[in-house]
């Protein structure tokens, strides 16, 4: 009898009551839609050369595509406003007395308000989008795909609105004051995301073995699983381009359509929760901080404890080098007291309410302290965790700083080519099995629990005996990462510090490096790149900049086989004791026009032991062992690196400092220098595992009248000519 007709009357009433909402929204939409569109179109028309795209592309791919993400921020804001303005009557006893005494069910009241809130957003939004469409028509840029783009645009924004709106409505229903509703909306909107950030930060702070190796793994933690249930995480995931780091043609990323359904389901779930909460909400809850008193202590705990830990991290970061544990504890205690009191004041709206819940204050304080103790003392054994052999399916290892080349590889889960670090590639692809040294080294590293000492650097620290002793001791420390791929499908990552001065550690490390499965999992050339048709190889030696050789199918096969078999036989001992003599880089057809980004792998080292490879390259026209002729060098510039007292530090300077540079033009001196220098870029991939470069001097060759700074050279350790030292 009352139902449908009344329902629409209620919507009409509510729209009339909140007429200010669409008016404000209209002004905002006008600025961000019509004005913005006209501004860009005018710019493109006036300065076409400044833009890499046309008006049509701008409208269809950017404005009604990529721009969805920017407009989503405005949409979220409108959702907050609609929810708070629509349901804040629940906070007013006076209004509740009227609305709840009227002959209308709470269910109808809820849905009428809910729907009118959506209409308050949708009607002006659609009107403004249609005006934009009118502008597009007037410009003669309206095509069939524009209709699809517009429908997509409105659809996605509507879903984002409903999700944000339902969460905000829930926050308003759960709280009793406007200020708490706003805070509640923000917290519900982003809680899981914030907690994910905190967990990440705490693990990073307390567990020296904590590591994330996927370039996207931090992203994954923030947006997936239980920690991705907040709308912010979902929306972030929707608009995060999984291929954003790819080196590819410029394109307009819109959104991930696979995530849309997650948002739809979440919007429905949050709406249902809000509806149930509305029905259960007692009218007398108006004016109370939290409508459901049973939830109040839980909410306080969920806010105060994370806030205290954030405070701890803040003070820790602020004063990282001065007693970090002490400052963390100070931040924790300070943050806890401040937030615990603040939340009580907000909940009571009375400063005298600070100590109203002493028991809860103590309880939360104990929980915070316990969590700190657990984290600080690693009570749960995070750092020492190494799975049993019986649990392990396979294992990935990355010996850090040993040939850390960067790769571009196909990642099926992202449907495209992705730019990954060596560590990430190894963690993803390597599957070592049956090598007992792997787990033995993991257990040893976990047991030893080594870590680098953090120092607050100051002038003169080098004279501090403790500092010097520590540096000396830690000179042989190296990082190594493990991915334990368990039988239950989980992958557990750990990063350890090992001491390669320890004979047993080094032996185990060698066993790992020498294992062919380590090499196969380390380098795409030996993994998924094995079957690729490389038809170009770029070679360099100690003196030559680069030579490109086009390979026939037969040559390619022979060269790859030779290089692969010789690389497989390469031992860590060889790497540590032998200077590489050059590099090779294999390229495919598809990328032959651009040599910067088109290889599946960066440059690969060639050692003197790679006899077959060297012979084949010589046959194809490149002599890896060639020496430079004295006539080719008109002079050599030697620069003293005063700040590089410790061997192993690399210079970041890009220009040659003339005031510290001495140029040698005497042929005899040049020959002496040429006899004992090595190319710098051959050195950096192995710098932490070799000890035959003396980096105290940078050496540059001068060809005729210019100094080539393409390659930097270093002296072999212990072979610096006398005249260089005496000329200082």
């Amino acid at each position: 009898m009352i139902s449908k007709k009344l329902f629409f009357k209620l919507i009409k009433q509510d729209l009339k009551k909140r007429i200010w909402c669409p008016l404000i929204f209209s002004i905002v939409y006008f600025l961000v839609l019509e004005v913005n569109m006209l501004r860009v179109i005018e710019n493109i028309t006036a300065f076409p050369n400044r833009y890499t795209y046309t008006i049509s592309t701008y409208i269809n791919d950017y404005f009604f595509g990529t721009y969805i993400a920017a407009i989503a921020i405005v949409v979220c804001f409108t959702a907050f406003v609609c929810a708070i303005s629509g349901f804040s009557y629940l906070h007013s006893k006076v209004q509740l007395d009227i609305y709840h005494s009227l002959p209308v069910s709470r269910s109808q009241l809820f849905w009428s308000r809910y729907v009118s809130g959506i209409l308050l957003f949708l009607i002006p939004f659609v009107v403004h989008v249609l005006i934009c469409a009118g502008i597009v028509i007037a410009r003669g840029e309206f095509y069939t795909n524009t209709i699809v783009a517009i429908l997509n645009y409105v659809g996605v924004e509507l879903i984002i609105f409903v999700l944000t709106y339902s969460v905000s409505v829930l926050a308003v229903i759960l709280t009793g004051y406007i200020i708490l509703s706003i805070l509640g909306s923000i917290i519900l909107f982003s809680y899981s995301f914030i907690i994910a950030v905190l967990v990440n930060a705490l693990f990073d702070r307390f567990f020296h073995t904590f590591a994330l190796y996927y370039a996207s793994s931090a992203e994954y933690i923030l947006t997936d699983g239980i920690l991705g249930i907040s709308p912010l995480a979902m929306i972030k995931r929707l608009f995060t381009d999984p291929n954003e780091t790819i080196i590819a043609d410029e394109r307009f990323y819109k959104y991930n359509p696979d995530c849309i359904w997650v948002l739809v389901v979440a919007a429905i779930v949050y709406t249902v929760i809000a509806y149930i909460a509305y029905l259960k909400r007692a009218s007398e809850a108006a004016g109370k901080a939290i409508a459901f008193s049973a939830a109040e202590p839980v909410i306080k705990t969920l806010i105060v404890i994370p806030a205290a830990f954030f405070s701890g991290i803040f003070f820790n970061l602020l004063l990282i080098n001065n007693n970090p544990d002490g400052w963390f504890m100070f931040g924790l205690v300070f943050g806890y007291i401040i937030f615990a009191c603040l939340i009580e004041i907000i909940f009571r709206m009375d400063i005298r309410g600070i100590w109203m819940h002493k028991k809860q204050f103590v309880f939360n304080a104990i929980c915070t302290a316990l969590m700190f103790i657990i984290l600080k003392n690693d009570v749960l054994g995070y750092n020492t965790y190494v799975p049993a052999d019986s649990q392990i399916q396979s294992c990935a290892v990355s010996i850090e700083s040993l040939m850390p080349l960067e790769y571009i590889v196909d990642l099926p889960e992202y449907k495209g080519v992705y730019y990954v670090s060596a560590n990430e590639y190894r963690m993803r692809t390597m599957e070592m099995q049956g090598n007992p040294s792997v787990m033995e080294l993991a257990r040893l590293a976990a047991k030893n629990g080594l870590r680098y000492t953090q120092y607050h650097y100051y002038d003169g620290i080098e004279q501090d005996p403790e500092y010097c002793a520590t540096m000396e001791r830690e000179q042989s420390y190296r990082g190594i990462s493990f991915a334990y791929k368990l039988k239950d499908g989980k992958t557990v990552y750990r990063r350890y510090v090992i001491d390669i001065a320890d004979t047993n550690t080094l032996k185990l490390l060698m066993n790992i490096f020498n294992d062919p499965s380590y090499k196969i999992g380390s380098i795409p050339l030996f993994g998924d790149g094995w079957d690729k048709e490389y038809n170009i190889v770029i070679c360099t030696n100690n003196w030559d900049t680069s030579t490109t050789i086009e390979l026939s199918a037969k040559q390619r096969s022979a060269l790859l086989d030779a290089y692969q078999s010789e690389y497989m036989a390469l031992t860590l001992r060889t790497v540590m004791d032998t200077c590489p003599i050059g590099t090779v880089r294999f390229l495919c057809d598809r990328n032959s026009t651009d040599t910067m980004y088109n290889s599946d792998t960066d440059t690969m080292l060639v050692y003197p032991q790679f006899e077959k490879t060297i012979a084949l390259l010589k046959e194809y026209g490149f002599d890896m062992e060639a020496t430079i002729h004295l006539d080719e060098v008109s002079g050599i510039c030697v620069t003293k690196n005063e700040n590089r007292a410790v061997a192993g530090q690399s210079s970041t300077e890009t220009t040659i400092p003339e005031d510290l540079t001495i140029e040698y033009t005497d042929k005899e001196e040049i020959q002496q220098i040429l006899n004992c220098i090595l190319r710098g870029d051959l050195y950096w991939p192995i710098q932490n595992y070799t000890n035959f470069y003396d980096t105290r001097y940078d050496v540059y060759l001068k060809h005729e009248d210019y100094v080539s700074d393409l390659y930097k050279y270093y002296f072999k350790i212990g072979e610096i000519p006398e005249f260089i030292v005496s000329d200082e």
Binding site: M1, I2, L6, K9, L10, Q13, K17, S92, K93, V94, Q95, L96, D97, I98, H100, S101, L102, P103, V104, S105, R106, Q108, A282, S283, E284, S293
Partner: protein
């Protein structure tokens, strides 16, 4: 008929309504009086479906109220602190209620609003408190509901308007099946209009009776006796609610029939004895005094 049975309502640890059982018959004007914080407003809010009782039942025409729009369609509630839509005019407010109460009589509203000299197109937020109360009553009357709950509605009205509202109520009572339930501290006003009175104190009902019956069963007596012995015997024979001695004069509030009380007193040949009219206010004070709500304890 409204039947409340063992109704309880807690606000946190506070017992707002404690085991109230009341019956409000159709067609009578029910006055709900009580001490501050007695639970009058809470009871009305439960009776009109705003609040849900924690225990007990409130039935309106034998149906529960909470979340029953059909039952609530027979109830109009005027809270102590009225709310109108922001910037609404009386006409818009009437339209608002017309959406909910299908029997709302718009013609009658226009007629009454003219009589009460309220401007139909003036914004309600510029009205005085009393004018808002007048408007609320008019809206309630024009909604044509069977029950109308008024919480302190009469308190803000001037004497002329009070009389006008009373006459409207009288007209409605004569015209149709109308049962106003009026909670008020203004006992003199209730006395004029109410048929039945319920007295609430500290969340519970002290008594519920027809006003006339109530007045027939409690009396204010002034008497003086020749000697103390007679006085003591008489006082022991009477059901005294309250007594006070001013010199030789006894001023008492006594339960019982008027004739029976006077017969008992006269049998001892008092020097002086007479029955004074007892107001509702005096009845209220007397009844609440019995349960410890003694004005002397509060003031002195």
């Amino acid at each position: 008929m409204i039947t409340a049975t063992n109704v309880r309502k807690y606000f946190g640890n506070i017992v707002a309504v404690d085991d109230i059982s009341v019956t409000i018959k159709e067609g009578e004007v029910f006055g709900l009086i009580g001490t501050n914080g007695a639970g009058k407003s809470t009871f009305l809010r439960m009776a009109c479906g705003v609040l849900k009782p924690d225990s007990g039942t409130i039935l309106v025409d034998e149906n529960p109220v909470y979340e029953y729009p059909r039952v609530k369609a027979n109830i109009f509630y005027i809270p102590d602190d009225q709310y109108f839509m922001p910037n609404a005019t009386p006409v818009e407010a009437a339209q608002f209620y017309k959406d909910y109460y299908t029997a709302f009589d718009m013609n009658k509203f226009h007629k009454l609003i003219g009589k009460f000299q309220l401007e139909p197109r003036r914004k309600i937020n510029t009205f005085s408190k009393g004018m808002k109360k007048q408007l609320s009553v008019l809206l309630g009357v024009c909604s044509k509901t069977k029950y109308m709950f008024c919480d302190e509605t009469f308190d803000g009205l001037d004497p002329v308007m009070r009389q006008a509202v009373k006459s409207i109520f009288a007209g409605e009572l004569a015209e149709r099946n109308f049962t106003p339930v009026i909670a008020s501290h203004n006992l003199r006003e209730l006395e004029d209009i109410c048929d039945c009175i319920g007295i609430l104190h500290q969340g519970g009902v002290l008594m519920q009776k027809d006003l006339e019956e109530m007045k027939l069963n409690i009396h204010n007596i002034q008497c003086a006796f020749r000697n103390k012995e007679d006085e003591e015997i008489v006082l022991n024979m009477l059901d005294i609610v309250k007594s006070e001695k001013r010199g030789t004069l006894n001023v008492m509030t006594v339960r019982g029939k008027k004739d029976e009380i006077m017969d008992k007193i006269r049998s001892f040949s008092p020097i002086f004895a007479e029955i004074l009219p007892l107001t509702l206010e005096e009845i209220f004070i007397s009844e609440t005094e019995v349960v410890g709500y003694d004005i002397k304890k509060i003031i002195f």
